[in-house]
Symmetry: C2
Amino acid sequence: MIRHAIPLALLAAATPASAQQPAAPAARTRAAPPAVTVDPRVAALRDKALGDDVAYAITEGLTTEIGQRGTGGSAAQARAREWGVAKLKALGFRNVRIEPYTLPNVWERGVETAEVAAPYPQALRLTALGNSGATPAAGLTAPVAFFATLNDLLAVPAGSLTGRIAFVSNTMEPTQDGSSYGSAGAARFVGPNIAAQKGAAAIVIRSIGTDHGRGPHAGSTNFAPGVTPIPAAALSVADAENLERMVKLGRPVTLKLVLTPRFVGPRQSGNVVAEVPGTDRDAGIVLVGGHLDSWELGTGAIDDASGLGITTAAARLVMEAGRPRRTIRVVWFGDEEIGGFGGQEYARAHVGERHATASESDFGADRVWRVETSLPDAARPVADRLAAALAPLGIVRGTGTGGDGTDIGPVIRTGVAGVDLNQSGLRYFDVHHTPEDTLDRVDPAQLRQNVAAWTTMLAIVANAPEEIGPVPVRP
Amino acid sequence: MIRHAIPLALLAAATPASAQQPAAPAARTRAAPPAVTVDPRVAALRDKALGDDVAYAITEGLTTEIGQRGTGGSAAQARAREWGVAKLKALGFRNVRIEPYTLPNVWERGVETAEVAAPYPQALRLTALGNSGATPAAGLTAPVAFFATLNDLLAVPAGSLTGRIAFVSNTMEPTQDGSSYGSAGAARFVGPNIAAQKGAAAIVIRSIGTDHGRGPHAGSTNFAPGVTPIPAAALSVADAENLERMVKLGRPVTLKLVLTPRFVGPRQSGNVVAEVPGTDRDAGIVLVGGHLDSWELGTGAIDDASGLGITTAAARLVMEAGRPRRTIRVVWFGDEEIGGFGGQEYARAHVGERHATASESDFGADRVWRVETSLPDAARPVADRLAAALAPLGIVRGTGTGGDGTDIGPVIRTGVAGVDLNQSGLRYFDVHHTPEDTLDRVDPAQLRQNVAAWTTMLAIVANAPEEIGPVPVRP
């Protein structure tokens, strides 16, 4: 357990922002920013949220009373939906319901073991990637073809990997904005498809993670149409480092893999939906949420019980402060991990409804450090008020745009503005998708800072008198 | 990976001790310690050792080329012995050999899975304790009887646990001297025997560890003669914390355990022995070493490849500095984890030989912080020189006695003096006996400080002109 507590100075700074003065003009070159008035009721609600424990209670409840909530329509996910309905009703939300959908063909994990067959016989720890093909039940034994990076794999000729197990071992360093997941993660996202196209019998990758532990990082991959899936798995970082040391000793290394995942056909699943009804039906819905499913190695505390806790706790605080202008809709999306099915089904089911904004919390439980939006120009004052009200929480206004997230993506792509509260990724990928994603990884102080940020956002956006959206769809 | 590097100031302080002045008299009450001359050759060797990488090379080799070295006469342990013989010969040791012995009846791990059957169905992670009994192959399902501490288990009447799974969940905090292992560890050492005597169907304990991770801590337990072993296992700390939260919700909790270890009969195993021959055959052997086997969940980097590396590297440095007075014998003991068999067999095989001192390194790879000995009064100057020469490495002279260790215990109990170089236990039990005991946990800088301490000790003890021992046997 590594805890990075919020500096006390930061919490102390969370006094009502209305009491703050605009900054003095900087010497010579920089103009003072325009003064923005923060509604004292918003500031008070934000500060109250720093003492709220509903988010932790939801995170603790889901990880204790349900535990692993396997992606892909699992029975545990169904229990979690029922738990969620009861919890959301108990918290006072309206129109609480399950919106069911059918998953067309569910991928299910099987046996997953690996060993070095020669020259250094020993067991290795790995986990199959989502959508991986299977080895024979008795296993597949083949020599390793080592690639230090994905680029090295891309460089070898087609057919050169026939009868071999590709091993891509690129490293990943932590980044606050999570951007290293995109670059390092390519080995998982597209590596298996590339290896299959080049004739590999299977592929193992170094887990996409910033730790050095034995827990492999799960995650999905995809094969292009017409490409037959090959067995594809992630070694724990420690095991990948060990295998790399073996390769570098210079003798040929042979692996035996047993991976028996399979597709088991259609399954029922669903999203859980709850609302804080607004006073103005025409102003558009403010959509927030996270996802209910988890990779089954851990109990999904940071991915993503905490996201459900954060968004739900914030919506409840705004609800208790009085009926907002816009309806706030909280969605606990299903089956995000294996393909974003819950988000797609939500967008399909609600295609006729106007959404003002969409936001998701799905990057752990560490503190929010940045706010970015894709609000239209007409709603620029909303973004300004947001930035001013969030600043006392140590949150900077980014220069990029908003609308990121697997679950809100399908709604965003219909021309809805995104409002993103970015969490620190500096330790997220230590435990992301591993057995170590458990409750003790959640720092209650940082979780409360998240709730304060989301409460602030909802209080401002849901009550904004300005029109919000639609916005042009980004390519 | 968490690394506590040695402060630079400490390394900088490792200048030749001969250049140091005795401390100035303290005000009023404290007398200055007597000046002790440290041989400049010893000081030079100590400082040279701070740049030695043989210990790391041995640790890396054993964990990479062999990996898990299962306790109990495993094939991997046999490969490790052959690896050790080749390595020790290559390093220039003399009389390198395997001393074989037979293990009478080996306990072997089987399937080990657990789940909460009701009311919160989910998988839990655990590992069977060494010498555990077995459940039926289909598993054992029974209600949990929760005990916050071992004392609570001791307090319930005999027969009160019939048909139940005892769950002892005492916590453990880090201590520099490792003493919390003794107190917290009692739940593992004697808890299963007590639970069996009170009629329990099985027992699970919270792992004896200071982490909060998902890797269970293995380790052995023992049942008294006449007590039928029950299934006994350690839950990972994170899983134990989760199960405890479930229990505290107030509803009866039922566990299903599948644990199928078994005794497989006798097996061949052995110790690896190497020597630096001394000039004086009558002065007694200076015995040092660690153990070659490991619990098979990890690759045994800190437990105990590093101990082999440290003691071997130190003996080699002394050997290269010139033939010592006393023979230094390095032993890589077998099968320590499951009952200290290698140490017992060594003492039996060498009962006729005079040993001057015995020392083992089996507490990880973090820095030595204390030296303690059970040297006889006549050899008090040896202890004084040792303390003075070790001080520049940040090592204090303890007020206790020496001779601790499973492997040297049988020799110590014949009246041999112990010289203990105690390593910091502040993070040892984070990974002790878990899957996480891998090479990346070894901090090369702290490992080198160990080598310097052991080199200093061997240079002083093996060359001491004083007679050493025998000493009275402690009760």
